[in-house]
């Protein structure tokens, strides 16, 4: 993700932050594009937001199954090189409390 893509995407965060969703389908990824290799393994999720669906990376160190309740949070979504910006984005986290 480059700088302008990040900048355009951050306008969408507040629409989804804190929203609850249900897992419709999930895959635990063991192979990723180079941007995310350092974050492996992580889940990729298809989520039901009731009125729409969204697909997001799962929060680090969490495993999910169909039917899990999740919340949308802000996390790092890429392992950036030293000179790059830190890329934050939306992920899904299992509801724990």
């Amino acid at each position: 993700m480059n700088i302008t893509e990040y900048w355009r995407s951050n306008k969408q965060w507040s629409k989804y932050l804190g929203k609850k969703a249900k897992v419709l389908a999930v895959s635990l990824m063991e192979v990723a594009a180079s941007d995310q290799t350092a974050l492996l393994p992580y889940s990729y999720l298809l989520l039901d937001l009731e009125k729409s669906k969204i697909s997001l990376m799962g929060a680090a160190h969490q495993e999910f199954k169909i039917g899990d309740e999740v919340e949308i949070v802000l996390r790092k979504i890429k392992k950036e090189a030293q000179e790059e910006i830190i890329v934050y984005g939306l992920k899904a986290e299992k509801i724990y409390v």
């Binding site: 993700m1 893509e5 995407s9 419709l24 389908a25 999930v26 895959s27 635990l28 990824m29 063991e30 192979v31 990723a32 594009a33 180079s34 941007d35 995310q36 290799t37 992580y42 990729y44 298809l46 989520l47 729409s52 669906k53 969204i54 697909s55 997001l56 990376m57 169909i66 979504i77 984005g89």
Partner: protein
């Protein structure tokens, strides 16, 4: 409609270290002209199918690159629809012929994938997905999502996914152009390295270099293979926007159009080359094309209904999985392979199915005599 496939050629699909993109193009042009036995000057136009030469090879402008293989420089254009580029190039060629502007056209599909690293390849293939809505996914992860959904909803099992792979590798054994001549057991597939659960390494089609070409003509010809019908379906780019994750609606739409045009139904089709970029993709394909009921294909394939002696032969070439998947070439290879089967008198009603991305684009062609 009177469009015949008057020439067909498939190059070897493999990691072709010695051949550049241009070498593959030259081979495809020479090969198909040799098969067609026509004067090169009779090619009125060229449709080039390619997904990502700009990224893989730093070379775009492929229409010009193919056109200059001919002394008379026919008009040429590149068609791109991710993995459906080949099928879409066929549709563009068919429409050009139906319009009457051209009478004989070359459709050439080519992809040279192995000049970049594995992780670069993964990133390039991921461009078939929605950049804005599917960031962080890989192509296997998106199909893994479809597999996870299908297994949960229809009870499709690990073993049934594996049976697709075993079958296609068996078929490829007899295809000299196939990338793999290696038979696998169900256990081999289920025990291969996990890529994105539930899809393992052997559930995934490989990285391949290759070229395939056909010549279509509306002029009278003694060649047997005719285009009987075609269809083109689209759906949302991102999985999250699909209506039903259990099917690829684009395939259903394309199939409906093609069968209507051909005035045929599913039971008429003897052989089909379908888009098995992953094992689950073949299961979805044969259901959405209407060969098997939704949720029933996996069991049918596992029981041998999709191979010789069964209800229909699916992917006799070995499919994308075992024949290989040089992305832009695949859709054209399907046509070339099927046309060749018809020319040899082996089958009379055949279907080619080519999908782009996780199912946003689908092209279906029905051929016969």
């Amino acid at each position: 409609m009177n469009i015949k496939v008057i020439g067909n050629y498939i190059g070897k699909f493999a990691e072709l270290w010695e051949q550049s993109l241009t070498d593959l193009i030259k081979e495809g042009v020479e090969g198909v002209l040799a098969d067609a036995q026509i004067d090169p000057k009779s090619i009125d136009a060229i449709f080039v199918a390619n997904k990502a030469s700009g990224s893989f090879n730093n070379q775009r402008h492929l229409g010009a690159l193919v056109s200059e293989q001919f002394a008379h420089f026919p008009p040429a254009m590149r068609i791109e629809g991710a993995c459906a580029s080949g099928g879409l190039a066929m549709l563009a060629a068919e429409q050009a012929l139906l319009s009457g502007v051209y009478k004989t056209v070359l459709v050439l599909g080519v992809e040279k994938m192995t000049d970049v690293s594995g992780s670069e390849t993964a990133a390039i293939l991921a461009t078939a997905a929605s950049r804005e809505k599917e960031y962080g996914s890989t192509f296997p992860a998106l199909y893994a999502i479809l597999a996870n959904y299908h297994m949960n909803k229809y009870g499709t099992t690990r073993e049934q996914l594996s049976s697709v792979v075993v079958k296609n590798h068996l078929h490829a054994f007899d295809n000299p152009k196939a990338q793999f001549h290696k038979k696998f057991t169900l256990e081999d597939v289920a025990n291969s390295a996990m890529v994105a659960s539930p899809l393992r390494l052997l559930d995934c089609s490989p990285i391949s270099d290759g070229v395939a070409a056909v010549i279509l003509s509306s002029k009278p010809s003694s060649r047997k293979a005719k285009i009987l019908g075609f269809g083109h379906g689209q759906d949302t780019l991102a999985l999250a926007d699909r209506q039903d994750l259990g099917r690829l609606a684009a395939t259903e739409k394309a199939a409906k159009q093609a069968f209507l045009m051909a005035k045929l139904s599913q039971t008429d089709i003897q052989v089909a080359e379908v888009h098995d970029c992953f094992s689950i993709a073949e299961i979805l394909a044969v259901e959405d094309l209407g060969f098997f009921a939704k949720g029933k294909a996996a069991a049918a394939i596992a029981k041998g209904k999709a191979t010789y002696g069964g209800q229909i032969v699916i992917n006799p070439s070995g499919g994308l999985k075992a024949c290989g998947h040089p992305v832009g070439a695949t859709g054209v290879k399907q046509i070339a392979f099927l046309a060749n089967l018809i020319e040899k008198g082996k089958f009379e009603r055949v279907l080619a199915h080519n999908v782009g991305g996780s199912g946003a684009t689908a092209a279906v062609n029905i051929l016969g005599i």
